[in-house]
Symmetry: C2
C-alpha cells in the first residue's frame, strides 16, 4: 500500500519549531504505554513536574504539562484566570501577542492592547503608562516572540505589574530551555510553554505553572471555568496530592518524551544549554554576515533560538525555502503577517542549536542565493 | 540518575483504555519529526482524514483529529456548536453522559438531562418523550459508555433526533474501531473519539467529524467560538484546502501513530476487526462463567470492548487490581462513581482484543480469587 509516511525522513529542523528530537527522547516516546492511573506512571508524572519547576525557576505547586500544544497553554491561562468583563492588557509586538488578545476577547474580557512595532521589543516606558492607566485583572506579554525573533523585557515589566496588583501572564513557548526563565523572580502568575521548541520534544504538551495568587483567583471565580478539558482545579486533582482522581487520559507517551527531554536538559546543565544556544546564535550571526545577510532585530533584543533574517531584495522567498527542504533536507520558517516575504525565521532550538547545523544551513544557503 | 522511567514496562492493558499499542504503531510514533507545514506532513494528514472518514462511515469533509485526548473532542463539539442560552438534551447513563452535561452547562447552555440507570441502555421510548418535549438545539448521547460497558441505541435515537431538527452529537470514544460506527447513517452531526481505545494508539488525539449542518451552525454563530484552540473554523483552514494556514503546531508524531493505527485497521479489514472484538468478548464471557463471575450488563446491551464484571461479595476490589498489576503485569479498570467497588472494567480494545490475552487474565484472576 502506497503511503505518505514513506516520504517522512530525517530533516534538519531550523524553523520556528518543531526542532530536532534527540534519540534519547525518541526512545522514551516509544516506551510501552501504561495506564494513566498506574502508580508507575504517577511516579513519572511527579518527576516531570519536579523537573519543570526547576526549569521554570519556580516553586509553584501547580506546575504541570497540559494535554495540548503550546496554544492550549495560552488558552488554559486565560480561560482559568479571566471572567467576562475582566479588563486585560496585552503588550503586543507579534503574532502571539495578537493571539493573546483574540483568546481573551473570545472569553468576554475587555481587552486593551498596546502595540509595539513588530521586530522591536516592548518598551518599559510605554508599558508603564498603560499599566497604571486602568485597573487590570491581568497583563499578558510574550517573552520570546517566535514571529519576529524579539526578546521582551519580562523582568522589568513584571516589577511594574506587581505594583498594579494585576495577574502577570508570560508566554515562554519559545524561551523555555533556550534562555533563562525565572518565573518566581519575574513574579509571573501564569506561564506556559510548548515541548517542540527548546525542549526538543515532539509537539503535543504545554508545560505551565501557576502562582498561589493565580490559584486563589481560580478558587474565587464567580462562575465555573467554561472549559472542562483545561479546568485547572480538575487537572490539579490528577497531577497533585496523595490520591489521584481521573480527569482525562493523559497523553502517556508524550509525557515519557517530556521526561526524557527534561532529564537530558538538566543533565547537560541549564546554564550550559543556554550557553550552547548563545554560541550557536553568535556563530550563525557571523556566518550570515559572510553571505551578506542581515538579522532583522537590533542586537540587544535578539533571541538566540529564533533568528529573523531580512530576505534580500530580488530573492524568491518561497523558492529558497522550498529548495532548502527538497534539495538539502533543511526546514527554515517563513515570515508571518506583515513580515511574510520580508524575513526568514531560522531556529536554533534545543537539540538543533549546534554549530554543525549552522554550517549545513549556511552551505546550502550559499548555493541557493 | 535514578528515574521512574525505569519502572515502565510492557503491561497487558485490559482496562478502560489505554489499550496495548502494536509495534507498527510504535515504530510510526518514532519516525522523524518534520514540520507541521511540510508538504510531506500535509500528505500524511490528508491520508489520516481520508482513513478516518472510512472508519467513521462518513463523507463529512470536516473529519480531523483534534490535538487533545478524547475529552478535548467532547469539549470541541459543544464549544463550537452551542451558544449561551441554547437548549441541550443529554441522554445520560454513565460518567461520560454526566460529563457532557457539565461541559454544556459551563458554556451557558440550558441543559436538560434524562437519566437512565447506570448499567442499562438508554431506552427509545423515554428518549422520544423528552426529545419532542422542548425545542432543542442539540441532543447528546454516548454510543459506548466506558463507565458501565453499555451500548446505547444511537441509530434509533438518531432517527428521532433528525425529526426534531436538533443537532445530534454522539460520543464514539470507546466504540470507534471496535463496533460499527456509521455517522452518516445515524445522521449524526458531530462525533468524537479517542486514539487510546479500539484504535490502539497512545492517547493524545481526538478524531472527530462534523456534518454540513453542524458546519452551517458554526458559520452562523452570533459570537466567536470562546475557545481559540478548538475553533473548528480555524482548524479547518489548517486541515483542509489547497493552501494550509498555520493555526497551532500539530502533534506531528501522534499523527504518525494514528496514521499507522488506521492503516493497520483498514488492512486487517473493519469487519474483521469488529469480529475479532466480538470473538474475544464471547470468549471472555465464557471464561468468566467458569470463575463464577457475572457480567453486569444484560446480554443485548453489552459492549465487546468494555466488559463490566460484578465484583463477588467479600472480594477486595483494590487488592485484586493491585496484585493483577504488580504480580501479573495486567491492568484492569475500577468502577466509577456509583459503581466504584461494585464492578471491574475489563477492556478488550483494539490490539488487545485477542483470546490469548483473555487466557492470561483468567489464569491470573483464577489464582487471585
Amino acid at each position: 500500500m502506497k503511503s505518505a509516511m514513506h516520504l517522512v525522513s530525517q530533516t534538519l529542523l531550523m524553523g520556528p519549531g518543531p526542532s530536532n528530537v534527540s534519540e534519547g527522547v525518541m526512545r522514551a516516546l516509544g516506551r510501552p504505554t501504561i495506564g494513566h492511573l498506574d502508580p508507575r506512571f504517577i511516579a513519572v508524572m511527579d518527576e516531570v513536574t519536579s523537573m519543570l519547576r526547576t526549569l521554570f525557576g519556580t516553586e509553584n505547586e501547580l506546575t504541570i504539562p497540559l494535554s495540548g500544544t503550546g496554544s492550549a497553554g495560552m488558552e488554559a491561562c486565560f480561560v482559568n484566570l479571566i471572567e467576562p468583563g475582566d479588563r486585560v492588557l496585552i503588550l503586543q509586538n507579534g503574532v502571539f501577542g495578537v493571539r493573546m488578545a483574540d483568546v481573551a476577547a473570545r472569553l468576554g474580557a475587555e481587552v486593551d492592547v498596546v502595540e509595539f512595532e513588530w521586530g522591536r521589543p516592548v518598551t518599559v516606558a510605554r508599558a508603564e503608562e498603560a499599566l497604571f492607566g486602568a485597573d487590570y485583572r491581568l497583563v499578558g506579554i510574550v517573552h520570546a516572540e517566535t514571529s519576529t525573533g524579539v526578546k521582551n523585557p519580562v523582568q522589568e515589566i513584571g516589577n511594574l505589574v506587581r505594583e498594579t496588583g494585576a495577574l502577570y501572564l508570560v508566554d515562554t513557548v519559545t524561551s523555555l530551555g533556550g534562555i533563562p526563565v525565572d518565573v518566581d523572580q519575574w513574579a509571573a502568575d501564569a506561564v506556559y510553554s510548548g515541548t517542540q521548541k527548546c525542549l526538543s520534544c515532539p509537539p503535543g504538551l504545554a508545560p505551565a505553572a501557576f502562582s498561589a495568587r493565580a490559584q486563589a483567583v481560580l478558587r474565587h471565580r464567580s462562575s465555573k471555568v467554561p472549559n472542562w478539558y483545561l479546568d485547572l482545579s480538575l487537572l490539579s486533582s490528577y497531577w497533585e496530592g496523595a490520591k489521584r482522581a481521573y480527569h482525562h487520559t493523559a497523553p502517556i507517551n508524550m509525557v515519557y518524551a517530556l521526561h526524557a527531554a527534561l532529564s537530558g536538559l538538566l543533565e547537560e546543565g541549564v546554564e550550559e544549554v543556554h550557553a550552547r544556544h548563545c554560541d550557536a546564535h553568535n556563530y550563525l550571526s557571523d556566518q550570515l554576515e559572510k553571505l551578506n545577510l542581515d538579522l532583522f532585530v537590533e542586537p540587544g533584543a535578539r533571541l538566540p533560538m529564533l533568528n529573523a533574517v531580512a530576505i534580500p531584495s530580488g530573492v524568491d522567498d518561497a523558492a529558497v525555502r522550498s529548495r532548502l527542504l527538497s534539495d538539502f533536507g533543511i526546514e527554515i520558517g517563513a515570515g508571518l503577517g506583515p513580515l511574510a516575504g520580508k524575513i526568514w525565521r531560522i531556529g536554533l532550538m534545543g537539540h538543533t542549536a549546534r554549530r554543525a547545523n549552522v554550517d549545513r544551513l549556511i552551505a546550502a544557503l550559499g548555493k541557493l542565493l
